[in-house]
């Protein structure tokens, strides 16, 4: 994928997320919803290096990962609308996305708890002698869970094909790093001391992310063991929900503006070829509008659907 394809993919995700933000107040998407606006480069930079058989697991903030991996947009929006056409048939909502056909194996709502699951996927790949990797996305907050540490430990011992991607956006809900982690902690350096190869990059630079991941995937597949990458980034909107919340006092407007300058999409917005950009906008917006239409007009799951799932 060349630079403009990466950018197109980011733009599509941004527009999907903004459409959700815009329509959230219609109160048809009735579930907790964590937007990735501002963090698109990591999802795209990572997934552009994965095949459909490589696997991804993710967290509560999963939309970008799901879409970057190639997850079906209609199914994602329908899931957020709670419809039976959703990827989880309406059982899971925004925090429980899955599209096995493209190797997106699931996202869950409990911080950190897909990390060992991804390691287990890698274990299966190793036992089944597949030349694939398993990749898991999580935030800076998730690295505080003991299971994070336990999972990496096990992955190293068994030399498993797993890529850990930490999206460090400085916050866990409204709590900054200073109340959650030691001063000066560099996550990627700490984990290196666990015994895993690890690097750190600019999470708003899609090309850099992609380059790091390409290298990491190669290392994994040539038997160098699990790899860890930490990327700095920033969430633009509130932790959960569609709004901006720099006014409520847990972070400064300046900090936000500083990061907005580093918008992963800035190259596209500053692109001279306005026509090309316009074409992309129109194409994606049409697709997105259609997907909302699909979701909105789909049926809710019936009690029979529910029974079928719990009794299957």
């Amino acid at each position: 994928m060349n630079l403009s394809e990466l950018q197109a993919s980011m733009l599509r995700i941004r527009l999907v997320e903004e459409s959700i933000a815009n329509k959230y107040s219609e109160q048809k998407m009735r579930c907790p919803t964590h937007l990735s606006i501002g963090q698109e480069a990591i999802a795209v930079g990572v997934c552009s290096n994965l095949t459909n058989e490589d696997q991804v697991l993710s967290s509560h903030r999963a939309h970008a990962h799901y879409l970057a991996k190639g997850g079906c947009l209609n199914s994602m929006l329908a899931e957020i609308y709670g419809k039976v056409t959703g990827c989880s048939k309406g059982m899971g909502g925004s925090m429980h996305l899955i599209d096995k056909s493209v190797g997106f194996m699931g996202s869950t709502a409990i911080v950190g708890n897909t990390i060992p699951v991804a390691v287990g996927s890698a274990l299966a790949m190793k036992i089944q002698e597949k030349k694939l990797i398993s990749c898991v996305f999580f935030g800076d907050g998730a690295t505080e869970e003991g299971v994070f540490y336990e999972s990496i430990n096990f992955a190293i011992i068994h030399n498993l094909p797993v890529l850990f991607i930490c999206e460090n956006n400085l916050y866990s809900v409204y709590s900054g790093l200073e109340v959650r982690q030691p001063k000066g902690r560099k996550i990627f350096e700490m984990v290196r001391a666990f015994g895993i190869e690890s690097s750190h990059g600019d999470g708003n630079n899609v090309q850099q992310v992609s380059d790091y991941v390409e290298l990491a995937r190669d290392k994994i597949l040539s038997g160098n063991g699990p790899q860890f990458l930490e990327f700095d980034t920033y969430r633009w909107r509130e932790h959960c929900g569609p709004n901006y919340d720099n006014d409520i006092g847990y972070r400064e407007e300046e900090e936000f503006l500083e990061w907005k300058k580093k918008d992963p999409l800035k190259d596209i917005f500053e692109n001279k070829d306005l026509d090309l950009v316009k074409v992309l906008f129109n194409k994606f917006n049409a697709e997105i509008q259609q997907a909302h239409h699909f979701a909105d007009n789909s049926e809710f799951p019936s009690d029979k659907d529910f029974q079928q799932i719990i009794n299957s």
Binding site: G82, I110, S175, C240, P242, D303
Partner: protein
């Protein structure tokens, strides 16, 4: 007397306790943040400082152990989690340590910790943000499990819990937060283990807890209209559980409906019915009934939660079913003025 909300009552209980004793500390992810855990911890850090009120890493298990260590040294920690579900990470510390510590050291070392856990409901909270685990906690000897309904009870029971010398699980249903009742400004306590007889009647005993008590109140009002008068017992705590009051009531009415917010098997409602069968066998005139959820995880979709959850209507229907009243005779209706998945018109998501 002034009315305040359940959330305000919780906040006031903590403020009161922290003023009364410098041993009380409060912590948890988000405790000092601008939202203050749905308003329940607002103002605490300003008044009591960062040593006694603090935020934490997402490390549920260690933070529970830390509370135990503080508690065995004379502090009275209050730990808060935004959802019960997150606390499943801490069950080793809870069950192997907190619940057994005083026992396994021969009674020489108490653990006065209070663990506030919020139960999610509606607006797509789904399978891992709306579990009702009261019977899981209640089955562990050495724990007390408190589950208030009214703002008044919330304040009095939380104060009692904080100053209790044993570990207390304090379960707060999200939908109660906006409900108001008369709450004295003073410091008062409600003993743990005494249920509340919310309504008196001789036809039927209904036992409920937490938010389901609110639904049951609606149901018994409609039942009154057709001449059915109920004892309504709000449990207030599920461990210890006030079997005495229930037995007394069943002795009078001969009929029991146990209402629970959890899935039905192995529920608090099951335990109540078991006790009734054992202890009140001679007074029971009809088979008891259980109003509880199907044994399934909670679905997320708005299209499913209406039939998944029980409310006043289901309680009402079980009551008339039990009493053998034909439904068409009643004509009763429970019209919902708001979507079924929000606690009130004011609620617009996202959690």
């Amino acid at each position: 007397m002034r009315k305040i909300t359940f959330a305000e009552a919780i906040n006031e209980a903590i403020l009161t306790a922290m003023r009364e004793s410098k041993d009380v500390i409060t912590y948890g992810l988000g405790v000092p943040d601008p939202k203050g855990v749905f308003g329940t911890t607002l103002g605490l850090q300003d008044e009591f400082g960062e040593a006694r009120v603090f935020d934490t890493p997402t490390s549920e298990n260690a933070m529970t152990g830390v509370g135990i260590g503080a508690a065995i040294n004379g502090l009275r920690p209050i730990m808060v989690h935004q959802r019960v579900d997150f606390f499943l990470l801490a069950l080793d510390q809870l069950i192997n340590n907190a619940a057994k510590w005083n026992f396994m050291f021969g009674g020489v070392c108490r653990v006065p910790i209070t663990i506030r856990l919020i139960v999610g409901h509606g607006w797509g909270q789904g399978p891992t943000h709306s579990q009702n685990l009261q019977s899981l906690f209640s089955q562990i000897p050495g724990l007390k499990v408190v589950i208030p309904t009214s703002a008044y009870d919330a304040k009095g029971l939380l104060l009692e819990s904080i100053f209790d010398d044993d570990p207390v699980i304090f379960l707060e249903h999200r939908w109660l937060y906006g409900l108001k009742s008369n709450v004295p400004k003073s410091s008062y306590r409600i003993p743990i283990g005494k249920a509340n007889l919310v309504n008196e009647g001789s036809d039927l005993t209904i036992v409920a807890l937490s938010y389901m008590t609110i639904e049951a109140i609606q149901a018994i009002k409609e039942l009154e209209k057709i001449g059915v008068n109920c004892d309504l017992i709000d449990l207030r705590s599920t461990s210890p559980l006030d079997f005495e009051l229930i037995r007394k009531s069943v002795k009078k009415t001969g009929k029991l409906i146990a209402v629970d917010s959890s899935s039905k098997s192995f529920s608090v409602a099951s335990e109540i019915i078991a006790d009734c069968a054992i202890e009140s066998y001679n007074y029971l005139q009809k088979p008891p009934r259980r109003v509880a959820l199907e044994d399934a995880p909670a679905p997320t979709s708005f299209g499913l939660t209406n039939s998944y959850y029980n409310g006043a209507l289901e309680i009402y229907n079980e009551a008339i079913g039990l009493l053998g009243i034909k439904e068409e005779n009643t004509g009763s209706k429970f019209i919902k003025e708001k979507p079924h998945d929000v606690p009130g018109e004011w609620f617009k998501g996202p959690f």
